[in-house]
Amino acid sequence: MTQGFRQHLPRVFGQQNVQWFFSVVVGALLWMLLYNNLEGFASLSLQFAGIARANRFGEALYFFLYEVPKVLLLLTAVVFLMGVVHTFISAERTRALLSGRRTGVGNVMAATLGIVTPFCSCSAVPLFIGFLQAGVPLGVTFSFLISAPMINEVALALLFGMFGWKVALLYTVMGLAVAIIAGMVIGKLQMERFLEEWVQKLQERVVSAEVEGESMSLPLRIREGLHHVRDIVGKVWLYIVVGVGLGAGIHGYVPENFMASLMGKSVWWSVPVAVLIGVPMYSNAAGILPVVQALLGKGAALGTVMAFMMSVIALSAPEMIILRKVLKPRLIALFAGVVALGIMLVGFVFNLVL
């Protein structure tokens, strides 16, 4: 009897599932152990090297040794979770949820789903056309296209690691607001004529938004999470190391309040300038953030820094070039203009309120 039960148990849960589940638990425990001992690790390393924290070099080195593992650990955790979440919400499922939604509710849903739906800017064009074909309104589609790249796991993990959860949450809320409002504006302006002709023609061929249920096993979902970690962390870790290194240098050597006169609250023009500088930058977001953090410590205003970051991530030249395939220049200009304006508003509001 007992033997029958023993054989039965792995069948119910699946032998593999149990194994994978335990590996995840062990991984999480190991992660927590590392994360809770970061300071000890940093000061121990300094002691071994025989460097005192008292001088500038020691302080900069300590900052580096503490900050790099912290940010990388957080990034790994967030990216893993997001990779698993992605296996539940495909672009197709999001499209089905958004199909036929009205302005307003549709924009809110699109911006929110943009956070959790897997999105790669290289599939922005098929996604854009596919949304329109399935009856997702243009403005709602734009809400998705603005929020998906802007509120991504790398940005959230870095913000959380370096500025704390409040700033990460604020960034998310403000990013959602920009995506929702910009999408509603574009929707209200009836910009459908400014799609390229071939897109307008494709749009007439209506496609059903139904999704065939692709069910994945738990080990497969976990493996997707690990794949995601390998892809994303593998891509950005070097930027983070270099960025934090630069940040550590600034942290140790640049005098306090050095940035106040350039990026401080009282300098109103710093917000638009930060947005403009951010537009041509793209993949370096991961490396720029740590530098920005150090600048913040030297008197730069949070709103200015936030606007800079949003502009780096949401308005990028490569994405514009991709979208140019489907949008006429006027619609591209409107898209960039509305989003830039929204980001500047966020920067000003932050500087006023905080």
Binding site: A91, E92, R95, C122, V125, P126, L127, G130, Q133, H227
Partner: protein, 100 residues
């Protein structure tokens, strides 16, 4: 011969999938032709909105991610339909991962 198509705009992830598929075909000695489809209108004809996508004999088997080698192997080896009834001979060795 199987007709394998990889749909994608030519980004790094899409090339990863092409390499993986070619490697599996070479390793398993599968008789298949591989074609890369970059034209957006052709991609849209498959109703695919997240690239890269793997199409075998005009059926979209996977989209929006690069599956593991084993998964690709299963997708390439699976018989189009009704493999369980008609091809019982291979089942003794534990199966090739085709359906059921």
């Amino acid at each position: 011969m199987k007709k394998v198509k990889i749909l994608g705009s030519g980004c790094a992830t899409c090339n990863q999938l092409v390499d993986a598929v070619k490697a599996v075909i070479a390793a398993e000695g599968i008789n298949a032709s591989v074609e890369k489809v970059e034209d957006i209108q052709q991609i849209m004809a498959y109703n695919v909105i997240s690239t890269p996508a793997l199409v075998v004999d005009e059926r979209v088997l996977c989209k929006g991610r690069v599956p593991s080698r084993e998964e690709i192997k299963e997708m390439l080896m699976a018989k189009p339909q009704g493999c369980c009834g008609s091809h019982g001979t291979k089942s003794s060795g534990g199966g090739s991962g085709c359906c059921c």
